[in-house]
């Protein structure tokens, strides 16, 4: 008796599909996969474009900041040097110092 039900019903199921479903289904699936493939590639490209744009933007902002933003109080980037130029050079020999002090041209020059 238990086996009878399997013999009676066999492989019949109550499931049905719309008319012509499988004829359309194959092409629909192929189209979906193709569309998915086409859509997924630009998505990857978009990420690369976004990354490149970010690098350029960050670089640009950094450069502009370095050039245009006023230096802070402690910064000496644009502070003009007020010390005489010779004080920034290496010490000169005594002979040269004597000469410089005695040199009328150098005395008259406004360092």
């Amino acid at each position: 008796m238990k086996q009878d039900i399997f013999t009676q019903v066999g492989k019949r199921t109550p499931f049905r599909t719309p008319a012509g479903f499988f004829e359309k289904q194959e092409q629909t699936l192929k189209d979906k996969v193709t569309k998915y493939n086409v859509q997924s590639k630009p998505l990857h490209r978009k990420w690369w474009y976004a990354a490149a744009a970010s690098v350029i933007l960050i670089g640009g902002i950094y450069g502009i900041t370095r050039l245009l933003v006023l230096p802070s109080a402690g910064s000496d980037i644009f502070t003009p040097d007020t010390a005489p130029i010779y004080s920034q050079t290496s010490p000169v020999s005594d002979d040269w110092s004597d000469f410089a002090e005695a040199d009328i041209f150098m005395d008259n020059m406004n360092w």
Binding site: M1, K2, I5, F6, Q8, P14, F22, Q25
Partner: protein
């Protein structure tokens, strides 16, 4: 001796498996519209992971495994959405009776399918793969991630439960 295997294109796999996979998924998720959605997602997954198919002798088991996973994932998400118990067949039986593409004319066939839907998920999967798709137990074991022995036991218990359900409801 073949040195290089030609991995099938997804188009070839669609041609070969779109019908059997549709029926397998339909028996799992019951509704025609849901089966169509799950089938599309299955072929997208197949396309995404085609390079994972190394052993071409396992091609059928591989595509069935993806389809089964997609169907189970869909059922799981639906059950979570409805806050239902895992093995509660009521929503699936309701879907079977309400779906526009269910033939309710043959009461015995309908009752038989209701009995199948009352089976626990693993038994139902094994039963469908063996009874309708006539897959060998080795492939069923590979699809469900179980042993051959477990697949045979599940099929045996499934048949018992279906027989008992029909006797009780006829």
């Amino acid at each position: 001796m073949r040195l290089f295997y030609d991995r099938p294109s997804v188009e070839k796999l669609i041609e070969r498996y779109h019908k059997p996979l549709y029926w397998h998924i339909r028996r799992m998720v019951v509704s025609h519209d849901d089966a169509e959605d799950v089938l599309q997602e299955t072929f997208i997954q197949i396309f995404e992971h085609l390079t994972d198919l190394k052993d071409l002798t396992q091609e059928r088991a591989w595509v069935y495994r993806i389809a089964t996973n997609e169907a189970l994932q869909w059922l799981h998400s639906r059950h979570e959405f409805l806050s239902l118990e895992d093995e509660d067949a009521t929503p699936l039986i309701n879907t079977l009776q309400a779906d526009s593409y269910t033939d309710t004319g043959d009461t015995l066939v309908l009752l038989f399918q209701e009995a199948v839907l009352t089976l626990p998920t693993m038994q139902r999967t094994v039963f469908n793969l063996r009874y309708y798709d006539e897959l060998p137990y080795e492939e069923i074991a590979a699809i469900t991630g179980s042993s051959v022995g477990a697949a045979k036991t599940n099929y045996h218990f499934a048949k018992e439960k279906i027989s008992n359900y029909i006797l009780a409801h006829q």
